[in-house]
Structure formats: C-alpha cells, structure tokens
Symmetry: D2
C-alpha cells in the first residue's frame, strides 16, 4: 500500500503541498447512509485553521472544503468521498531562499536525498498544512462513530513547555486558543507564549486524547492491535516524537498490583491500561498522549549546509506557529477517530455473528472519571 | 491485510498459541541470495528464550526453529521462508482453572467478547510466547541489513522499575540476564528482582534500541513514515504502553533552539530527532525507547468476574516472568529490524534511480555518541 | 502486501517448494466458532491428490494436513490457522539434470533471471504442488460459506482438448477421474488421454465452476469487483491462461437485447452476466470458466538454452500430469471460495447496517438452471 | 485496502460519479524526476473522450485534467499526484426516471441492495465515465515505462460483434474511430454500427493489448503473478467479461508440443505464453485480450422491477455508446500500464541486487512479430 494511504477498510488517501494549488484526500470505505455535508467537515477544520490567535501562524487560509463525490442527496453512498481544499494564501516568495539549503529539524535534507527533487515552498509535502486533510477526513469518522456507537472523542492540551495544565473540565477546551481544559491557566499560557516569541524561539507540548464509549472488542491481534495502529497514526502526525496509551511511560516504575485493572460487576476499578487489553478495546475510555516537538522554523540564525555541502547559516522568516502543539488537538482527535472507525469495520467483518452471554461491564463512573481524564493531567 | 501480517514488502505472517502444537511464521519478500541457516535464527532465539535465569519464567522451551521453505543450498531464494517452532513444555493443567474467569490486565476479557471463544491455555494467542516468532523473523531482517548496508541494531535495558541504568558500554549487554549495558549495576538489579518476587509482585521496564548505519532516505511520507511504522511495530509487542523516537516526551518542555539538530559538513551536531526527520531516516542513529508494563500474571488474589458476570477472585500460579521487560530487548531489536528492512525495499522500489550531488553527512562521531546512546540512558 | 498472500480480510499466506520439507499456509481472518477438523480439510485434499488414476502424475503423496493453530476444542478461534503438509515422495534425483537449463513453458527461465537463484527440484516454488495449499485453505472457506450462507461451490471439467463434455448432472462429477459431469463420455476421455500419453504429449482443458446461493451485494466497486478478484484468483493458478465470467468471450458477438438479463418478481430471466453486475453479486449463480494450458513437462526433446546461453535439448522424465486440468477442478473451486469469503467479510464490514425494503429476487429456477450450468457446457 | 485503490506500490485511488461535480484520482508511488505536464495526460484522455464520432455517446465532455499536486517545476516529486476532471455536461434530467427501477444488465439492482442508497444519475459510480480516471493515471504509468525501460503499450480492436478485424498495421489504429489496426475494414465497421443503432440495439467487442519491451522478471509468485494482476485489472473495467493471456482459451485444445515456447540463443521461437511464464514476464511481448459485453442501456423496452418489487418496463433514453468497446482500447492500455509499473517497482524492491550471467534472450524478431500481434487477430 502506498505511503499516503491510511487504514485498511476505512481509508484516507492524502495529497497536496503547502503551496501547490490544493490539498485534499479520498476517503473510501465509509458506510453508506451517513448524513454528511460540507458544514460537518468545516466545523472541525475551523478548529484547526491558522490565524485564529496571535499564538499561531498568521497565514490566512479559509480552509474551505468541497465534497467532490460519494455523497448523494445529503447522505454518503458507500463510494469514495473526495475532499478538496484549495490553497489561497501561499506567499511563495517567503520560501524561495530556502531552496539552496536545508532547514534544521525539517524534512528538507531527508526529502532531498530520498527523492532528488524538493518542492521547497513552505515545506511542500512535509508542511503541517497536510494535517488539515486529516482533520477533514476525521470529521467523517467522528460523525459516524458518534451516530452509530455514541462514541465521543475529545482532546486537550495537557502540557505546554514546562507548564502542566490540570484538567478542570471539558467545557473550557473550546473557550481558549490552547485547547486547555482549564480557564484559569490561560493567562499564564498566553504570557508564556509571548515570552517564547520574544525569544524568537519555539516550544513543545503534550496533547491528550480520549475516546469514550468505544465498545469492547475492537483491535486485531497480534500486529494490528488497536494500540499499535493508534501509535502509528499518532506518530505519523508532523512533529510527534512520542506516543503513550494509558499510563504510558509511567508503567516503567509501576508494580503489577498497581497496574493491572481489576474487574467487578460494576466495572473496571481503574484504567491504567487506557482502554486496551491485549490490543483489543476493553470498553473503558481509550486514553492516548502524544509529545509534540517545538517548531523547527525559527526566526534566528541556525547552522546548516547548502546543496554543495558547504556550511551556511539560515533564518526562517515565514509565518510559523511558535508551538505547533497549539493547533494539534483537533488533529490528534481526528487520527484517533480514523483508527477507531477502521477497527470498527474490521471487527464486524470477522465477528459480526459473535454472541456472548457474559455481561459487558462498564468503565469507571463518569463523574470520578472526569476528574482525571488524561494519563498525567 | 490481516491483523497477523506485518510489513508491506518484507512481510511476517505469524501464527500459533502458547499451548498449541507450534508457533511460527511465514517471512515473505526477503531478497534472494542471502546466506541463511537455522543457526543464524537460533542464535537470536536463544537470547530471548525462557528459563535462562531465576528472574524469568521457568518454562523450559528449547525454541528450536526449523526452516520449511524459501532456502535452497544455504541461500534465500526470494520465496516465502516458513519458520516452525514446536511447543514442548506446555503444562496445560496450570491454566485450566482460568477458563471460567478473566485475568486482570490480560486479553482474556477482551478476546472473550471479541471472538466468543478463547484458548485459555497460557493466554493462547495473546501469550508473550508469540514474541519468539518476531525474534526469529527479525534475525533474517537483521542479517540482511547488516550484510547489505552494514546496519547494526542493538538494544539494552534503560530502566528497571525505579532504577535507571546508566549506559556504560555495549560489551556489557550480553554479559547479564537483564541486557544492562552496565556491569556494575547488575547486583542491584538482581536484588531488586528478588524483592519483587518476594512481594509476589511484578515490575515494568524501559528498553532502548538503536540502529546505526541506516542510510538517509528510508520512510514514506506522509503516513507510512519510518517513525510511524516503528511506533506501530513497537506498540504491537505485548505489554508495551509507550514509544519514543529520539528525545521522545522530553520534547514537550524543549525549546526549538535546543531541539533542532543543526547540520555541518562534518555531520549533524546533535541527534534529538533520533535519526528521523519528516518521517524519513537522516543517516544518524535511529533511537527508540519503549515502556513495558509490569506482568499482569501475579501469584496473589486479584478481583475479577466470571463468565456469568459474578464477582470472583483469582491468583495466577503458572510460570511467569516477574518482569517481561527482561527478555524484551531481543524482541524490540527484531521489530526495529523488520521495519527497517521493509522500508529499505520500499525506498528502492520508488527511488532506485535517484542520484544527488549533495554529500551525505555523517552523524555524530562514534566516540562521543556511545557516551549517550539512549535518549535517557 | 507480499506476493504470496491472497485476500484482504480472509487471507491465505502460502509457502513451500515441491521438494522441500513441507508446503503449507497461514489462513488468517477466519470468523470464530466454525467447527473445523483436519478431516474437513483432508476430504478436499483427497479430491486433488496425485496418483489416483493412470491419467495423472504417479507421485505418491498422502497430502496429510496438520492444523498447527487457530482451532481450539474443535472450533476456530478467530486467530491464524496454520496448515502444514509434509512432502514425502520427492525423488529429487529426477530433477538434478534440469539445474543447468530451462524447461520450455516453465518458470525456470523467468525465475532464474528474477532471483538469480532457483530451487530446480521439481519446479521448486513454481510447481503445481502449491495448489494443494489452495485446496486446503479453500476447504475452510467452503465450509464457512456453506454453513453461514448455504452457498454451494461446485466445478466440473467442461472440455478436455477438443472434446466438449456436455453437462448431464452433478452426481457424475465425483464418479470419474476427470470431474466430468457426464458418465457416458468417460470412456472417450480415457481413450483420449491414453492417446495423448502414447504420443508423449500433453493437452489443455477447460474447467467450469459455479457458486450457488451467493447473496446479492458482494464485491467492491470499482477496482476490487467480485469478478475482478475472481479473475485474479483464477489466473494465479498454475497453467491458467484465460478466465471468463458468465458468457465470457461469447459476449463479443452478442447483442445487448440478448445479453442484458431482465428482472421479474419471480427472478432474473437469464444469467448471461454470470451472477455479477457492476462488480457486485446479483444473487444468481456465479459462473466462472478457466482455460488450462497443456503441461509443459514432456517426455520428448525440446529446444532450450543452458545457463551460459548455449543451445541445448532437454526431455522431462519426471512424473507429470499429461493434463494438469484433470486435477484442477478442486483448485478452481477453492479459489472461488476464497474470493467469496473475503468479499463476504468486506461487504458486511461496510454495509452491516444496510436495510432495503425491495425484495431480493431469486435466480432462475434450479430445475431449468441445472440443464445449462456452465457457460458453454 | 479499499476497493477503489489499485496497485501495491504505484497506486491509483479513484473517486467520482458520472453526474457529480468531478471525477479524479490520487496516483501515489510514482518515481520522482519524471517530466510530467497536463498535456501528457490530456493526450491520452482525448483518445477516450466521448463525442468524437457518431458511433459513441454524444455527451460533450472536454475531460480537461488538472494536476493538483505531486509535480514541481515540471517534474514528479515522488509525492501523490492528484488529478481532477470536472464534469460539465451532466443533463441529470435524463436519468431521474430510473430512480424507481433497475436497468437490466446494470449495477442498479446490486448497488441498491448493497448500499441501500444509489446515485442513479447516469449510473453514478458505476458509470463508464470512471474509466477516464484510469486513462489519466495510466498516462503517467505509460510515460514512465517508456522513458525508463523503452516499453511500448498499444492496443487495437480485434473483433466487433461478428466481424473479426485482421491486424494490418499499428499505423491504422489512430486513423479511425474504432481503433482498428486495419483501414480497409473501417467502412464495414461503420455500416455494422449504423445497423446496430438502427435496430436500437448494442454489440460487444474484443480488444487486444500488447506491451513490448517488458524486461524479464516482473511478477510476484505465486498469487500476485503478473498475469493474475493483469486479469484483475482488466476484469475491473466496466463491461469486461473475459480475459486472456497469450493464446488464452485456445490452449484448451492445444497440445504441449505446440504450446510450450522453445528457447534458442536467438530468442524464443514462439509466444503462445503471451510473455508470462510462471507468473513472471519473460521478455517477450505481453499479450492480453479482453471481451467487452454489449452496452446494457438500450432505447427499447426491457422488463424489470421497481423498488417495491413490482414488475415494470423501462427504456433507456440517455446518451450511450452502442458499443462500449469502441472507446475501450485506451482504457485497456492504461490498465496494462498500471499493472506493469507496479510490478516494475515491486520487482526492483526485492531484486535490485540480482545479477545473472546468463544472457537475456530476445523475443521473436519484430518484423515477423507484427504480422500476428494479437492472439486471434
């Protein structure tokens, strides 16, 4: 399968460069009969789009999506859904100078050696602009999961640089530019970002995503486990350097008596596993965390080499996010949705006839649960 | 593609249960002409096999591998290589009692609901015994990568429970049961494990794996990135709950001026990226860390439910590793090798004709490098 | 996906050479809960096995199958089912002389240039012996399709060389070595084959296969159509040179008023389409024909070249089928079953929730239908 | 993999309905550095486009293609190439009446039951309009194969209804609306089509396609054989009911002494195999024939049922090809090109290092060869 296609049954085939005519994708395998309009997708795109606060890139892109196929009289037909987003604010002149060198921390050097040719305008194919496509495709996945299974997928920023962001409530997430689940901390985050920008620097972040309502049974042993496919999907997002499921790296120093989630008729007593046991969803919340590196594009001189291998210095002066993590929450939610819908279909393909008398136990009580939604919130 | 097949061009299709007649796999897509014997594979299997110290399961399995196909007169033919490992020491009686309940932290509950049937003997398909298959297949990948490209893939235990294990030298790794790259710390690790066992408990671990000599250019944007496929492969290993590339979760609090690895004609000045930029290998060491949870099988009572949903208690009395991380290093090395060989083939499929005049810069000097091989060693 | 794996969700990964230790496969994606024993598979293997009449190869192979995994207490578990068939009667000495040249009509020349190495013993990987694996895997598919959907898959020889074999009744097929659905013609077929052997020659055949009871709706537009995947699966059988669905090549000279099958509340009025419309099953019989070339191994001198490119002559003296088509009927049935089960799972993955008020019309009445089961019978 | 994606490494993911906003595809895996412009693709599209003679549909579609990505400064970058063709002449009113019934011979009935929803305008997704996408993608494949390996892929109509069309010369093919390799027969074909139209009927055709210059070694045993993938690709074209490689169904009555192509230092002495031995290309011409059924849309009453299952009659009055085979030659060429490029990449992925001292023998002399290019010309 080609490197630009994601999924086995519900697939996304992505295309487009930062400064080409358009970006977009083909979503195939979507079940028929889902009500779908461009507005459904636009709502998610608007959460990710640039230019919404001073803390993100000032590129002005409406990110207007057009559905080209696969929807008839307002419903999906089961055929490929092509989504098109035209690029409008490209300012290619910002990037022409980088054609002769390689930006540190970027794909410039590796793409150049891999392909022998490079669309250097705005990073070309390696630009984070491609994540808009993921959000658009993920909007379809999210909608189907919610309508068919009642699954809710939500994310928030768990940490910005050194600042841990305690989880206070989901209602805060949409109220600030950071996707922080905590309104009180927002002024501190804003001051912190202003300082980073004043230093002409950038900073990393941690994003937490949770899917609630996932039925027991999704995930394919032993390689295409639900958590393995989540790890793949998350690590495929630009700038991600780490993925955790459940307690993640905290398990290194954990004892088995702490980690193993006990079962009772009223539900699991804890969720250290993050909703996945043996690679298969347990019915508890699926909890994922990702680490996002600081933006590599910096408005200060950095050492590099030119196409002839000679030393040079370069400064990136285009419009960039000082923290790519700020707009990453909708992207991470989309990737989780895309993995889940694919496994929903894979599961019922093989196991549609399975009937088990054993009751399915619930997860922890929602009330207590929301107090600690993230692995390290 | 089915859930038991790994890879796109160099594929591993795995089969077998812990207490069935055999485990094994079919390795397809291996380039022809590689000298290969059962001894090559056995050497890797012996590094992982059970019963080699008091700190691991006492199950006695020779793990003798038989090559059933794909090798002719000592060389691979390009056709599928089937590997067979017969199970010998099964002791099924240890497991019969768990047929009516679900071990906390295991796949019992999820498999039961997914399939409506469960081979409960020793965990059946969900047993870590399956990782022997990965090591066997990985031995072929490792050999080809070493002979064709000079790539060396090595791992070590970076942390056992609370104990961080400072990297001292590769030569120590094969000298102790823990795969610790440090001989001085071994007595402390042994005492720690004795304590864990005395407490009838188990503990987690962190494993670090490094591939040196990977050429620039491997990895497929934008989804099948090298790091995305590594994350998938690592997370698919039993008990893994987190994966990091390069600095991993440390990037959350890093600034861009620290993280972005600068380039000079003499090489990159640092390797925070872990050898992957934009999803494509940079020529630097590929650095991966994984978090392994504590064994869920514990010789003390844990709460669970039975097949009718009624509460019960259960104690696991079979032979188990008190720390599955101890034998995980060869498994992690194998998974990294399998991802790399697959991407080696994918890369040259598309880009065999590419020629670039720009010199390929080296990574950091080996001397300095070995001082800090792991992300957090 | 590797070249030795068939299918998307219900997959078969095949291995083994004619004169290696064993052949076999891993069947993955089989729904759980299917009763399955080695006897179920053996029954199909026995229909294909060599040495059952004077008209086929005299190699004596019991083709005993062993199930290595994926079955527990007599039922499939949903996990990979590994099947192993040991080779016993190899007589490698018959083949050593062909190591230095290329048998006309065989894969010798092409494998040699492709891989640079060749297991020349009995054709190695290119031997028709591999079709035993297809029959074994197909037995599982057949059983599931029959038990879950009542689908019956049956084949017969429609033509042997110049002799067309009129369809008389299914009950005759198992009564003769040719799989002829006509007892009266058998003496003529036997005499014909005796003549071919006396001429030290070989001959082609046409096999017809029909699947009855396939529900409407299987097949994935627009590339993975049911008929496209059938064409792939059939053409992948050794010696097949042509595939037809429904009326096949007869459509070239047909008019639309003849070809288009009209619909009535009592069913379709004809089945020129062969049970597939727009790549999707229509509920009528799926009708497939394949052309099998004459065996290329002949006991008379044929011109070839040696490894140095010099001209030579060679005669094949091993044990061979003078008409590989004679044993091909179970293989063709197996391939049709494997495609159908895969599409059954793919269909319900996407469309499990679809409900349509329009009644599903039946195919033609069975009575009339059996008069003309094959496209050209 | 989803049903709308073709290929393993060089992939085409297709989208679009006959009367939706657009059709198009994403071509992924194309090697970088290929000079490519919209004119390269347009030239092939113009060979297939409607409205060019009175013998094809009178729908007026310019089929103007736009490249949305994957090309930079006139060369492919190795990234996905998205192709967009806007629909312009849709006349949806022609089709509204068929929303309540099923056209015989079409996908209407099967799509309806499969998906529970149907874009009935012009056949929606099942329209032959989708084949424009194949031609566009195939143009890229053709160009790369020609520039990289000197491969030439050409097709012609071998038979129209009862009229066999003797091969006279390639130069005639582009000179008539039928793709006949024979100028003298054209008046007869025109008269024949006028008669078919006067009868308000339609007719089938046979198309032959030949790839010259294919190197020895392409194709993956044992399932993904070159001929198996060709059969799949050809049968996936709308209206195709049969596929032959080399002598095709003629092998049924052939003897082995006739069929097996002998080898000499000067080349193979014949090409009954059609350029594929053991599923791998032999270096001879790859010869393929396909049978195309008569158009199912007819301007006369045909029996059908309505959505409630009640009997009805319907006449198709839209603009249709009375012989879909007339415009099928470029489509068949495109599909052959797409299979070949995919196998070119797959072959070198595994076997890039293979070196064989044995000379590669040529096929038959081109002169003699062109006399009989098609299997039954």
């Amino acid at each position: 399968m080609s490197g630009s296609t994601l999924g086995t049954l519900f697939t996304v085939t992505s295309f487009g460069e930062s400064h080409g005519p358009a970006i977009g994708c083909v979503v195939d395998g979507c079940p028929p009969g889902l009500e779908l309009s461009e507005a459904d997708i636009q709502a998610e795109l608007d959460r990710r789009k640039p230019g919404t606060s001073r803390h993100v890139t000032q590129r002005k892109e409406p990110d207007s999506v057009e559905i080209l196929s696969g929807v008839f009289e307002g419903k999906t037909t089961g055929h490929p859904i092509a989504l098109l987003i035209r690029n409008t604010d490209q300012r290619s002149q910002d990037y022409s100078k980088i054609s002769q060198t390689f930006r540190p921390g970027h794909a410039d050097y590796t793409y150049w050696h891999k392909y022998g040719i490079r669309d250097y305008r705005g990073g070309g194919r390696s630009s984070a602009r491609e994540t808009a496509v993921r959000v658009a495709a993920g909007a379809i996945a999210k909608k189907w999961l919610r309508e068919r299974y009642g699954i809710v997928i939500r994310g928030f920023m768990g940490q910005l640089g050194e600042i841990r962001i305690p989880f206070k409530g989901w209602e805060h997430v949409s109220e600030n530019a950071f996707f922080a689940a905590n309104d009180e901390i927002v002024p501190r985050l804003e001051a912190y970002m202003d300082e980073i920008r004043a230093d002409r620097d950038s900073i990393g972040a941690r994003i937490d995503v949770i899917a609630s309502g996932v039925p027991v049974g999704w995930g394919e042993p032993v390689y295409d486990r639900l958590d393995a496919d989540i790890a793949y999907a998350m690590m495929s997002i630009n700038a991600v350097k780490g993925v955790e499921i459940g307690d993640g790296f905290d398990v290194v120093a954990q004892r088995g008596t702490v980690h193993g989630d006990e079962l009772t008729p009223d539900g699991f007593l804890s969720n250290h596993a993050g909703g996945v046991l043996g690679g298969v969803s347990s019915g508890q919340d699926v909890r994922v965390s990702i680490a996002i590196k600081p933006t590599s594009s910096l408005p200060q001189n950095r050492r590099s080499i030119d196409l002839a291998g000679a030393p040079t210095e370069m400064m990136t002066t285009g419009r960039h996010d000082p923290c790519v993590g700020i707009r990453a929450t909708p992207v991470a939610e989309a990737m989780l949705a895309l993995v889940l819908v694919d496994h929903a279909l894979r599961h019922r393909a093989q196991n549609a006839d399975v009937q088990v008398a054993t009751p399915r136990i619930a997860g922890l009580a929602p009330a207590g649960h929301q107090d600690v939604p993230g692995p390290k919130g």
